[in-house]
């Protein structure tokens, strides 16, 4: 039987959650024994090669490409997990949610004290994904099956969760591991 596949992505995140996944240290060898990595920045596979057992989502949705990728993950993964506070609540990128988008772009690309932008307009190349009105947590865009909070979630938590999931065991995380910081 072929090994189950895992896919991961970082949407509007800082890659800290992926760093935490790498923080399982030598256990990554054991993980590689029982799963194959599909689309993921860890192996640089850009498009899904097939159905995946688990999809790990880091970061919320800040622009249209994030939404596209997230929907693609939902389509290809049996179980989708929000990993980290940004996927769960929007996180640091969501700090712009209290400011209208137009004002954000104006400050970032025109009015900011250190901005050099002779054109005087925010970048509008068609290749740049359009920003959403605000940053959305993953579960407000697609159905998310599990949430693993933390900034980042501890490596032990990610390990325990993946092992439980891949072995069809119930996940009972100790109190110390479930934290929002």
């Amino acid at each position: 039987m072929a090994k189950p596949k895992i896919a991961t992505t970082s949407l509007a995140g800082c890659f800290g959650c992926h760093m935490s996944l790498l923080d399982i240290d030598e256990r990554i060898l054991a993980l590689a024994e029982i799963v194959d990595f599909d689309k993921s920045p860890l192996d640089d596979i850009k498009t899904f090669t097939g159905r995946c057992a688990v999809g790990l989502i880091e970061g919320g949705c800040a622009h249209e490409e994030n939404v596209e990728v997230l929907r693609d993950f939902r389509k290809h993964c049996d179980v989708l997990i929000s990993v980290g506070d940004c996927a769960i609540s929007g996180g640091i990128p969501a700090m712009r949610n209290m400011v209208p988008l137009q004002e954000c772009l104006q400050e970032a690309y025109v009015d900011g004290p250190s901005v050099h932008n002779p054109a005087g307009v925010p970048p509008n190349d068609p290749d740049i994904p359009l920003m959403l009105d605000k940053v959305y947590p993953a579960h407000e865009v697609v159905k998310i099956d599990y949430h693993l909070p933390g900034c980042p979630p501890p490596a032990d938590m990610l390990w325990e969760a993946l092992v439980a999931l891949l072995n069809n065991k119930p996940l009972d995380l100790p109190y110390e591991l479930v934290k929002y910081d």
């Binding site: 929000s82 506070d85 769960i88 609540s89 929007g90 996180g91 640091i92 969501a94 700090m95 949610n97 209290m98 400011v99 605000k134 947590p137 579960h139 407000e140 998310i144 599990y146 949430h147 693993l148 909070p149 900034c151 109190y175 110390e176 479930v178 934290k179 929002y180 910081d181």
Partner: protein, 239 residues
């Protein structure tokens, strides 16, 4: 002659003094009833409803309901827990609670309750309200993004400090904690040693220059859930 009142909480028979509230009587018997707006020593407020229990089959706030003889109280049931979880969820989504960089993280009662109830994500959509920060005072800051309107600062200032620094203004979504001055916190008679500053259960009123002083792993709720100090020893009074 000392009188006692006998009641049951989740089937366990406990005794209390007449006039005592359910929350206090339970606490003395070593039963923790989750709470946010209640702080021992202050007049009960009954506004957060996190301490809701079933009293003879009706939902009541445990901090404002006096005990009576033969009262039947339900505290730790799935029905009540799910109601409390919803309340905590709502408090999270209606403010801007960025735990990842908040100075209060690890010592925050709202966060600790979410941990205790095993919340990994709120079920309601985030509102991201636009609120303000008052950093005018040299030693104290108000971050209204994190305020849950428990009123503990309002009552502490009046009842413990003998001042009247904080007060609610507005209604519904517009409700917020205002300060008793023309402009801002710096213009009030608040002092950094006031009980009102310590009373904040979240990171809405914080002392400047002492953030992150306790390392991760040594904070109040890093290892034990909120309330476990009450459950561990029936005689202790919670902070």
């Amino acid at each position: 002659m000392s009188q006692t009142v006998t009641l049951t909480i989740d089937g366990a028979k406990i005794e209390g003094q007449p006039g005592q509230m359910i929350l206090g009587a339970a606490q003395e018997a070593g039963i923790y009833i989750p709470r946010l707006c209640h702080k021992d020593g202050l007049t009960p407020h009954g506004s957060c409803r996190v301490c809701t229990v079933m009293v003879n089959g009706r939902p009541m706030s445990a901090c404002t309901t006096p005990i009576t003889e033969g009262m039947v109280v339900e505290n730790d049931t799935e029905q009540i827990s799910s109601l409390r979880r919803d309340l905590i969820d709502m408090l999270f989504v209606e403010g801007n609670h960025f735990c990842m960089f908040c100075e209060r993280s690890g010592n925050c009662e709202l966060q600790a309750l979410a941990y205790r109830f095993g919340i990994t994500a709120p079920k309601y959509p985030y509102m991201f309200p636009d609120r303000d920060v008052d950093a005018t005072h040299p030693d104290i800051m108000i971050d209204r993004h994190r305020c849950i309107l428990c009123g503990r600062c309002v009552r502490s200032s009046q009842e413990v400090d003998g001042k009247n620094v904080f007060q609610f203004v507005g209604r519904g979504e517009e409700k917020r904690v205002a300060v008793n001055a023309e402009a801002a916190l710096a213009d009030t008679n608040v002092d950094v040693t006031d009980a009102a500053i310590e009373a904040c259960p979240v990171g809405a009123i914080i002392k400047k220059r002492v953030g992150y002083v306790v390392p991760i792993g040594k904070r109040l709720y890093d290892h034990k859930p909120i309330g476990s100090e009450i459950e561990a020893d029936g005689a202790v009074t919670a902070k």
